[in-house]
Amino acid sequence: MSASTPKQGRPDAAAEDVRTLEATPSCSATRVVERDAEPAGPAGNPRNEGASGHKSGGRAAADVAARIIMWGAFVLAVIPLVWILWSVVSNGLELVGSPRWWSDDAAGTSARRPGGGALHAIVGTLEMAAVTALIAVPIGVLTAVYLVEYGRGRLARLVSFMVDILTGVPSIVAGLFIYAFWVTTLGGQRIPFAATLSLVLLMIPVVVRSTEEMLKLVPNELREASFALGVPKWKTIVQVVLPTAFSGIVTGILLGLARVMGETAPLIILAPYTKYLQGDLFANLMATLPTMINDNRTEVTQAAIDRAWAASLTLILIILAFNLVGRLIARTSKVKA
């Protein structure tokens, strides 16, 4: 197991640099090695000339085979992924392009009446995502800080283990748990806030794991330098460690948000769909884009299917916007780090 986390990890920003660096100079390095090896083979080293020649032929063949397989896998993977995007865009663009889609709710539409807007669902999705992040991010980041900076011994191992378990908890189980807790035990109603709680459960492990990975990549020298200057541990974490890892943490949060925004199963259990604009998390019905897709896909009419595709496109566009913002933040803070 030579593959251990190196003592001095690279800061997250360096990860991309590694690839960039490697894509150009190391490729030429390979070529240099090959060029050197070819003339050296037959000329020098007469002792096992035949053997080495045969072996390098097999090695070269394996290398070429691997290269072909990698390209093939990439092409194979890209086809369905591009196809999905194409399906969503081509089927959803017409409705999404209409101004009413962004300014109106779906009041007055039915399975047979086409058109309508998605404002109610967009508002619901963004609102739930914001509240989810508000609860999940502090818990997630602090847990990651505990695991990396404080965690020693049995409790740390237990927390780390439980984060892994939470990572694997299916969204429908998270929804069932909140149902058992909120509705069956507390006697509450199925309200959007309860669905938000189940989304929190799903977001926490994403934030913990990504933050933890990023904190681990912060070089120990930075912490040691800070301690050596007499800075208290908490201040070191808040002002040195977290800012260094900031871009990675934000990216993790946005990935987590993207995941919970598309999550449908807990919403089906806890937050029934409505066609009307309703922004109160503690009222009974609230629309979100996933439940809007789900509501429309069960109809067989073209009008409803069109709305399902358009809602899918809208959801993907919102997630894409979050991703782009995350990348911009990552890029600007990379300079600082």
Binding site: T5, V159, V169, L176, Y179, T184, K233, A265, N294, R327
Partner: protein
């Protein structure tokens, strides 16, 4: 910043008890307390999930008149509830295994391609696209799988049924191999769904391979492939395993993609091994009946199904954890 140096020296005895924990400052105590609290909360949450599911499933299970684990019946209302998860377990596990067999090798290969082979002009946009696709909601995969991809996959099913029909899992099953709503289609769609996750996570760990390892391998005359095999793959192994397990967890618990594509079977349909068959997974069973949680007994039955799913993912993740534990801890 002036008072931070040598805090223990000028401090008299009153604070010595906390100072002995080397976190004497208020800020340190508050911050470490908060982070320990957050960590503990995560532990408590997972325990609560198990606790709530168990306590509310047990009463329904006690009234159950057939074996919960070996029966495939599902009658949850009335005086004589008879329900079991054998059928659900089969469909869940089989569709997830198909997804893993397809997605993990391809995902790792794509990750290697993106980090080691692809030219920069291709690697960056391709990686960005795959990151985006990891965020595409599963309900969209379901919609696409049923309406666009499934029909294309039907000829493949028919090919397998015709030429490999003697293998039980590829049995034609009364012509259901010509149907879109089969376990096979679900498995392939799940594979496509978890492919971006497996790829994105594997790519991250491969990109972090220390340059010294790569350069060392190359300096010894290794070819590109040998560099990957000896430096990149060993370094990324724990990451790949966790990526695969995360993908498996999502496949096992995937709800909407399965619910949309898979056809439910009429009650009492006998079990067959063929992949060209309908059915329900734990998650799709619960989602299909989410509107029916009206009595504690009914709810309890579905919570019991959810509990089995939870335990299933628990075991998968625990196994992955044991594998990853071999990785040395940070800075130790």
């Amino acid at each position: 910043m002036t008072s931070v140096t040598g805090v223990s020296a000028p401090d008299p005895s009153p604070t010595s008890s906390v100072a002995s924990r080397s976190t004497g400052r208020l800020g340190d105590r508050v911050f470490s307390g908060l982070s320990i609290g957050a960590g503990t909360l995560v532990v408590v949450l997972v325990l609560l999930i198990g606790l709530f599911l168990v306590t509310q499933a047990v009463p329904a299970l006690q009234r159950n008149e057939v074996n919960f684990l070996t029966s495939s019946e599902w009658t949850v209302s009335g005086e004589h509830p008879r329900f079991g998860v054998a059928g659900l377990l089969w469909v869940t596990v089989v569709s997830s295994i198909i997804a893993m067999l397809l997605a993990v090798p391809v995902g790792v290969a794509v990750a290697l391609f993106l980090t080691q082979y692809a030219p920069t002009w291709l690697a960056r946009p391709a990686a960005g696209t795959i990151d985006l696709l990891a965020a595409v909601p599963s309900i969209v995969y379901g919609l696409w799988g049923l309406r666009q991809f499934g029909p294309v996959l039907v000829p493949v099913q028919q090919f397998f049924a015709q030429y490999f029909g003697w293998i039980p899992i590829f049995a034609p099953n009364n012509g259901l191999s010509g149907n879109v709503s089969t376990i096979f289609v679900v498995g392939v769609v799940l594979a496509i769904m978890i492919l971006p996750i497996v790829t994105a996570l594997s790519r991250e760990v491969f990109a972090q391979t220390p340059r010294a390892h790569i350069e060392g391998a190359m300096a010894l005359g290794a070819t590109k492939w040998e560099t990957i095999r000896t430096a990149v793959l060993p370094f990324g192994k724990p990451g790949v395993i966790s990526a695969a397990m995360l993908g498996l967890g999502r496949a096992l618990g995937e709800t909407l993609a399965v619910t949309i594509i898979l056809a439910t079977l009429a009650p009492g349909t006998p079990w067959v091994a063929s992949l060209f068959n309908g059915g329900e997974t734990f998650a799709s069973k619960i989602a299909n009946n989410a509107g029916e949680f009206d009595t504690p007994q009914k709810t309890g039955a579905f919570l019991a199904a959810g509990l089995v799913l939870f335990l299933l993912t628990f075991v998968v993740n625990a196994i992955a954890r044991i594998v990853i534990e071999r990785r040395k801890a940070f800075s130790e």
